[in-house]
């Protein structure tokens, strides 16, 4: 068993009366790729946002490299090397590629004015993107001129450049074409080969990412219901679990509607 990077114990989170996450315990080893699967509203984003320091958990504990920690802010998590790549990518359309890559960790000339060193940022951004296999026309173009895949690549490269130890990818292939998905998966594959970074991929379409994961966790209604190594499970098994969930949900809806007098077939 390789060295553990991140572990959570019994994490729960409620928003008012809604419990978004219940008793979630996950673990992530160094260099491991964990697929965190689940339907919309299953609690994936909530779990992710707790790990990034965006939400504070209602209860439960987080351990990072064996140390228990309390994440007070996004900057807290980032300073430890926990780097989120959000679905909206948190890129700024009005800024160019290299300024986006260095947003909030700008290279500056010394002094109180905080003048930006564009030359240094441009050169390092170029090198990083090339290394990771992200193809863009130039680091000087504004983000708004790039495709979805290129943006995703830049967002991932930005996190890796920040010396990420844990990379949290939120739906990295959402709304992406086949070619663009291939590029992103290639970037993930390269990272996995290097083995420095542990990755959690959050997705609801598990077929696409299944082969890239070492382990799969399934979140259903705020709870982790399934934890298997990829080699011990299959897309078919996951499908049957999800189908069961749908059937159960359909049953609940049917009962609640029939109690109003009519039986509706969904």
């Amino acid at each position: 068993m390789s060295e553990e990077v991140l572990r959570t114990e019994h994490l729960s989170k409620s928003f008012g009366r809604v419990t978004a996450l219940r008793d979630a315990s996950i673990r992530l080893a160094k260099g491991e790729v964990l697929g965190l699967l689940g339907d919309n509203g299953a609690g994936k984003s909530t779990l992710l946002k707790i790990l990034t320091g965006f939400h504070r958990p209602s209860s439960g504990k987080i351990y990072f490299e064996g140390q228990e920690l309390e994440l007070k802010s996004v900057s807290d998590a980032r300073s430890l090397g926990i780097e989120p790549v959000y679905q909206d990518l948190a890129l700024i359309n009005e800024l160019n590629v290299y300024r986006n890559m260095f947003l909030q960790r700008e290279i500056m000339y010394g002094g109180p004015l905080r003048i930006l060193n564009d030359g240094a940022m441009r050169a390092r951004a170029k090198e990083q993107l090339k290394q990771m296999g992200v193809n863009i026309p130039s680091v000087d173009v504004e983000i708004s001129k790039l495709s979805g895949g290129q943006r995703q690549g830049i967002a991932v490269a930005r996190s890796v450049y920040a010396n990420a130890k844990v990379l949290l990818l939120d739906e990295p292939l959402a709304a992406m074409g086949v070619k663009e998905s291939a590029m992103i998966l290639d970037v993930i594959r390269r990272l996995k080969q290097k083995g420095d970074v542990s990755i959690i991929i959050v997705a609801h379409n598990y077929a696409q990412i299944f082969d890239f994961c070492d382990r799969i966790n399934l979140l259903q209604n705020g709870e982790i219901t399934f934890d298997q190594r990829t080699q011990d499970t299959s897309v078919e098994e996951l499908t049957s679990l999800v189908v069961q969930e749908y059937r159960a949900a359909r049953e609940t809806v049917r009962i609640s509607t029939s109690s109003h007098g009519e039986d509706t077939i969904l």
Binding site: F54, S73, V74, S75, R78, P84, Y86, D88, L89, A90, L91, I92, N93, E94, L95, R99, L103, Q104, E106, M108, L113, R114, I115, L116, D118, P137, S138, D140, V141, E142, S144, K145
Partner: protein, 319 residues
Amino acid sequence: MRRVGLSLLHSREASIAIAGIALVIYFQSTASAFLSGSNIANLAEYAATTAIIAAGEVMVLISGEVDLSVGQVYALCPFVMFYVHEAGLPFVPAIIAGLIPAVIIGLINGLVTVVLEIPSFITTLGTLFLINGLTLTISGGFPVAPKAGPLVSNTFGGNAISQILWAIGVTLIFQFTLVKTRWGMHTIATGGNLIGAAEVGVKTGLIKIGNFIICSVLGGLAGTLDCFRIGSIDPLAGGTEIMFMAIASAVIGGTLLTGGSGTIFGAFLGAAVLGILKDGFTLSGVSAYTFDMILGGAILITMLINVHLSRLRAAGGGQ
């Protein structure tokens, strides 16, 4: 030729500068006094303080907010300066003391907008009336005259050259801040993608509050410069007119009201073009009523051109 055309297309400032030059040529051909020294001084005095306020307004607009109260800060600060001076302080510290209320008002505008999550349009509409009432109350509604010596007066906007130098200085400082410093980059990020910037860790609230303070202080500075030029401090000076002129300058200069995009240099040119228009029409004997109609038309036309140019830019690719 095509390349020149394209590069002009890429620079928002170029089109407004060309419009300004065309207007100067037109007015000079209709009224030969247009380019006379005294008229240029007249024009500069009008455009300079608008440009200073516009610089602050651009910072606020880029961060995704708007400040309607800046014209009232313009009226309040010189009064505070006057009373502090009357109380015995020399003019230079009194001027600085006069800007303290501007800092406080900017802070209030920012805190109410960011912390209480009230849209800045409403926040600053509220402070607009509040400050106006405050100025009228402390002044009793009567103008006063600052009794400054020629050195203080000439340094702080008492003549056209001093006014122009202040406007150019403010424009250069904030254009540099916007394009070359971390504060400027974070301002663009905040207005461009508020949630995204916050997710990355940009302190978006702090950026907005800071820009409200910058705008307010520049409003106070503009009012102070104008009080030495005019030689009296009027509780009803500035107001919504100078605020709307500053926003118009910003918009004509290419700043978007939706945030994330704009230039201080463009706002400076916008203020100059508005000044040229107003002054030119006055010289040509066009009435103030017609001027407002033309101003309205000019804003609409420049907005149309801006929107279409940015579409062309997007379609043409940025490389």
